[in-house]
Symmetry: C2
Subunit: 648 residues, 2 copies
Amino acid sequence: MGKSKAYLDCRTREQAQVLWRERLAACGFFDQLPVEEVALDEALGRVAAASVYAAQSVPHYNSAAMDGIAVRAADTFQAQETAPVKLTLLSKDHPFSKGGCYVVDTGDVLPEGTNAVIMVEEVHFAAGEAEIIAAASPWQHVRIIGEDIVANELVVAERQVISPVDIAALWAAGLETVPVILKPKVAILPTGDELVASRRELKPGSILDVNSHMLAAAVRQWGGEPTRYGIIKDQQEALEAAVQEALRRHDMVLVNAGTSAGTEDFTFDVLSRLGEVLVHGVAIKPGKPVVLAICAGKPVVGLPGYPVSAMLTAEMFVKEALAERQKLLCAEAPEEEAVVVRPLASTVGVEEYVRVSLGQVQGRMVAAPLGRGAGLISSLTRAQGLIRVPEGSAGLNAGSTAAVRRLRGGNAAHSLLAVGSHDLSLELLGIHLRRRKKEIHLSCANVGSTGGLLAIRNNEAHLAGIHLLSEATGQYNLEQVRAYLPARPWLLVHLAMRQQGLMVAPGNPKAIQDLRCLTRPGITFVNRQRGSGTRMLLDYELKKLGLSGADINGYEKEVGTHMTVAASVASGTVDVGLGVLAAARALGLEFLPVAAEQYDLLLNFEPCDERLELLLEVLRSQEFRADVEALGGYDLSGSGDILGQGNG
Amino acid sequence: MGKSKAYLDCRTREQAQVLWRERLAACGFFDQLPVEEVALDEALGRVAAASVYAAQSVPHYNSAAMDGIAVRAADTFQAQETAPVKLTLLSKDHPFSKGGCYVVDTGDVLPEGTNAVIMVEEVHFAAGEAEIIAAASPWQHVRIIGEDIVANELVVAERQVISPVDIAALWAAGLETVPVILKPKVAILPTGDELVASRRELKPGSILDVNSHMLAAAVRQWGGEPTRYGIIKDQQEALEAAVQEALRRHDMVLVNAGTSAGTEDFTFDVLSRLGEVLVHGVAIKPGKPVVLAICAGKPVVGLPGYPVSAMLTAEMFVKEALAERQKLLCAEAPEEEAVVVRPLASTVGVEEYVRVSLGQVQGRMVAAPLGRGAGLISSLTRAQGLIRVPEGSAGLNAGSTAAVRRLRGGNAAHSLLAVGSHDLSLELLGIHLRRRKKEIHLSCANVGSTGGLLAIRNNEAHLAGIHLLSEATGQYNLEQVRAYLPARPWLLVHLAMRQQGLMVAPGNPKAIQDLRCLTRPGITFVNRQRGSGTRMLLDYELKKLGLSGADINGYEKEVGTHMTVAASVASGTVDVGLGVLAAARALGLEFLPVAAEQYDLLLNFEPCDERLELLLEVLRSQEFRADVEALGGYDLSGSGDILGQGNG
């Protein structure tokens, strides 16, 4: 039950960031950086360590900027329409003499003695002479030395990120190498007795070391050079030795994790002994147990163990430090306004970060919160935006507006938001849409069929997957949609018939064959919640067989997802449950088909949205149908059929 | 004078891009891409070649999500405040029996037989028993198998750019490698008799091969793998052989240049023979002479020779093709509105691209056009934005609004726009400002002192470098500013005293000593334009000496910049000119100091702009003063002194 050890001083994020910046500056982390000289062809994306000045002028000679004749301007000053001036045509090897001229092409060296070019269109050539009727001003149509870059002029400024055009300018200016900042060396130390390095070592209770790989990639993305250490056991001496070793060869050290207040968390103690701990605990969620320290004059960061917390706090305290050191501009998307579709409770006194899906629905930017657990890596990979709930706020109501920062670039205006019952075919739908138009991104929030209907009614989604069976008629979806959305436009499109079935342990030890077996003595069952499509299907099928839920041991126990049902079966807590094939497959269960159910898409698009056409195109395509049917348990022969529409 | 050969068919950019995309699709450039399997630690930024599905569920075991006791939910259903239920505490090695429970910490494996956790705060422990007063629902406070990622679920979709969190998700899902698209191999063939590969081979008339380095870096930035070929001479056979060889080993070939209609331009002919030329000439400026062809089933692009044209057309036809092949989203900044400060003439029928500096001045985004020559590499490195003048437009008036696309990222709201007389110290000012705040970018447009006054008056700049001498009083700047800006706020701050002097050929062959020598017979001079600070200085100094311009041979000949004066002297066209030390140094001229002139900054900031404080801080800092004085010819002892201000 873990002893409690109070955090040294839990600061706000802003206090912690300000203090961190100050102390990093004080310990010299932002200047006196090691430099290397690299060839220009290797310089792309590197940061110039010093300002670089031109070694030669560009162009390096005076040249004709037009086809025509090169002249001495003074010889032309008398020329007028009424009094043409005749100049003698000289050959290129002939030295210039007063009143002479040379024929030149664009780019030719301007012959010595001349200082202007007259365009060929304005010259009348006749027997060894060129006749002109207007004066030339000095240097007209001449590309002069240094017109582009002057010798000794600045070409690339210190701390500039070197781009292709900078490389061009440096080459042109006579340089072949450029001094760049050596990438900051960052050590990453994964710690914890429960950690294992590879999937082959995994057993119940052990955790795969994922964070060190994620942090190494993040450090690389932020312009650093990461070193991943091997896993360090929860022993004070081992950790202390590793940190000391890492400090000798790196500019910054990250320890992950061992930063919370549990019994086996030594990071704070070790860093206190090796140097000065500036911050222990920041009032943010996720991510509170972060440690910021300066040891041996170098920054050491203790990051929390949950992946979401580790990533969020690394962005706050590592990314910023690396960027400031190299003067890199962090290309952060500006904050945008979005309507939050579900209430977000938050703790006063803690700044909370919530991952969301984003989409532009009927002209409003809509944010659908994803899972908030600090352990949910999938909420990071699926998130398109991050909402910051300020520490003074107790949360956001559904329908209220929040500032959201976009992750992963892209354009939320191209995102399709699917809110409703989840199905694996939706992910394939996203992939096929993107094949047709690469900007499209489909994000899914899984709230069940009824939640999907609600989201469409409230203009909070572009599409909702639904499978709502009417017990009275045995029909799916259409009448429920009609009843629920009388006052707005919608389109109902068929996606698939999919198999629901009974999930049982491998080998089917209780020899269950069909729904009738659920009433057999000694058989335990787990049910889905009221309102879910699967519960409706069960009730409908039981009724057809003349059975009642009261006859089933466990009918009254409700869980919320296909996967929870499968986990109940897999752990042996119950014998059987009803769900889709995919959930059974995921946990290695056996699957006995019960019924094919109709899974449709309820759509909500603006009239001229080209993505609607693309969506129907995909649903009707052979490639998409084949891909979904390959999952097993699907029939897509009617996918893309329009089942009905409302006009509002 | 170059024979004229008509372009095959000059298309609009849009026509050319549509046709190019269609034909690239038809020849399979966008699919059937070669794939390589890379370790996850090498996968950052690569593009997934196929969708990747989880090999295991995450978490891979059911675990306690809270500190407390693990129970079987069914055993707790009777518990109420008035009727507590007592459960027997079991040790972990004891198998579960009805009515038992286990003490668990967060993260512990959920003991077999249990299916819920009750928080420690809600348990009363007593002699081998745990007493509870509320029922637990199944799976409460349990982190179930697959809660984050379910086995066989999609982890990374095809064509997704792999990020640090994707690497985390892939690791967690039991994967160690990922299939990624082999980077497209792009050959770059520099062609031209005038090209030389290194600075050491340069002579008048030859051109350094800069473009192949720039294009290679650009291809790398766009996700391709470039190969730079050696320079190919302007011989049809040589070019043909090189293109054929390159096609065998690459996915795309770029030929640069030889694409215009001159006599020695074989690219079109060679590509016609090797395959099909789709486009020869696009109605854009710069960049018209582009050739798009399909040879041996692969795309070949002939890019124009001028660096600006080459880069612009490569972005249109190479970047897009590489992005579409890999389904990369081009993170292009959205177009913004900006006020154009100078008129921009444009040709009807041609889509014109103009590089600009950008800055947010008094609430308006202001765009100052840079040099428009297709050969000006510096206009690419200095540009912060690109204005597209549509083909139907004859140009833009000063003060009109245009759509501008930001280059180089960053935030134009942080850009300081300097419009006025140029001085090398301004570049150092920009560097020192950025040292203090990395987001600041100082861009300079050089239009002379009077142009600077005008820009400040019109709210088109934050600062203007000026050196305006009043012949009547011998004073600099202040009274001119007062006279010119009676109706608006401004601040005049001193920057430096700088040396102007006479520039003469190396060795000073005419033995010129001072301004008096200009009137000597046989000495030729070149002057600066009326209104320039240097012209005013000359007139003032001549007057002091009792000399008149009429006595100087060349006084009436005017050129526009310090560098043009220097080039006139360097080429031997004239003997002497007046200008700053830097220009003399650039062309290796000798310099005879004439007078120190006062160079000040006229400032135009919004009242609360923190950058004004930073600017004054820099001007008054020892580091900045030392850096500028090291240029030679500068005295900064009073830099940062406030000389006057207006209140409007």
